[in-house]
Symmetry: C2
Subunit: 306 residues, 2 copies
Amino acid sequence: MIDLDRLGFARSLLDRHGAERSDAAYTAALDDPNAAIVLVAGDTPVLQALGEGASAFLDRSALARLPQRAETVLLGTADGRPVLAVLAAPEAAALYAEDSAFQVLDLRSVAVQGAVPAPELGALATAKSILSWHARHRFCANCGSATQPAASGFRRDCGACGTQHFPRTDPVAIMLVTRGDCCLLGRQPRFVAGSYSCLAGFIEPGETLEDAVRREVQEEAGVTCGAVSYLVSQPWPFPSSLMIGCQAEALTEDITIDREELEDARWFPRDEVRLMLERRHPDGLICPPPVAIAHHLVRHWVEAGG
Amino acid sequence: MIDLDRLGFARSLLDRHGAERSDAAYTAALDDPNAAIVLVAGDTPVLQALGEGASAFLDRSALARLPQRAETVLLGTADGRPVLAVLAAPEAAALYAEDSAFQVLDLRSVAVQGAVPAPELGALATAKSILSWHARHRFCANCGSATQPAASGFRRDCGACGTQHFPRTDPVAIMLVTRGDCCLLGRQPRFVAGSYSCLAGFIEPGETLEDAVRREVQEEAGVTCGAVSYLVSQPWPFPSSLMIGCQAEALTEDITIDREELEDARWFPRDEVRLMLERRHPDGLICPPPVAIAHHLVRHWVEAGG
């Protein structure tokens, strides 16, 4: 079983009220003085510091020091309390960074450090993805005119040509390729030293999940895969991916590395991968931490081997 | 087992050459006189009529009668032959409709009728999705300037602000909800008379596949679901979805229909659903045809029941 409490962003306490986003009775919550605020300055969350750790939810009064807000989205409710995502300029982070009542921390670190309770991570992920979409989609791709937020912030409408635009979610196939008692892991140049992970890539128009898995492995490592099985999914808010985690059976062994994508790719025996997961590998090789879906794909396979 | 040859758009003979799309040696294929052409006029494919049936692939000479092309994309190769997707104006369909060498047929009908071989449907789906994206994304969402195609047509670049734009693929959760020997099917007002299908909806930013399944069923039918299992995926080029097919176990039975989405939703016993699949139901109720992933989700469950 995958431990969803350790998989980053996989838990969410948001009730999204998807069918009510254009109802006046619901959108009144945008002005609710008791609403919980998820504040993102540029790309960086501003957290409420607590005695131990922090919370993703600020009181509305925390917005008073903002000279202006760039965007406000009604994410839904949490335990009946409205939750608003608020986008501020990157510079606004400085207004909170020096105040011990707050913690300004990039979202990857929030997840890796477990700085907020796991169910709040889902709300942070949703806030960051949708606010990032607003920030980068203020104009109509169809006609070039400026667009306006609608549907509680889950849509942007073009007054000029009438097109409705919805937030993007980009599906990504991420896969552990196995062959007998070995699995294929690769490393990109940007990875921390010694880290090896699963291969991954965006699913393209006109492609099944399974074909995308096989194509990516062929392109990046020159390995042909057969059967593909789904394991688990994860929202990944950098900026707005849906990671779809799979296991794939290799039909071939020879590796041809795509040097544009990968610095290295190798077959690792299961016992060696176990040491990498446990961070006890003699050469210091490691696998990604539990916040990443790759960790769970690897762990699932290692544990299936006894 | 799911029969992928009958599931629409699930087979593709395209080799996408994803890593080569900006290489001059590869993009030279855009001018290859022997390239196969997938022609879409507005939203409608133009097929090559054959003695029996048709092919998605035209010879390049078929383009001679076009006054102009709106967009050309190098989709990849099929059996070593370059495959180009060409977008023409909707009116261009008339240039082929009267010529018995061609067949002008909307893409749904192409799939339902099996008008082209199954592996060519994947190329048609890719062509339609990516050409539709070009047609509706000629301007930069970030700054409003006109954009230009790049990377063999798999990207659009903004010369003004430098943003690179990639084709969208929208992940959709579609699920058969089951409870013991019954399953939950609903109908939208736009369905053909008597047709009942699986519930479905777009996966939102910050959401796992499994949470999206549970949310959609709760929103549309008021039924609470527990365990979710993945079954099969399908590209759905209307305009560019990835259907992610699941089965979900209901934890509750009472149905509250969202009348904005559904005209009806009911629990159907397995034996009744079998008759609907076989089109022998006494009241004329039916399930979607095999081109739709819903058909396979339902059939898989019916057959699992013996």
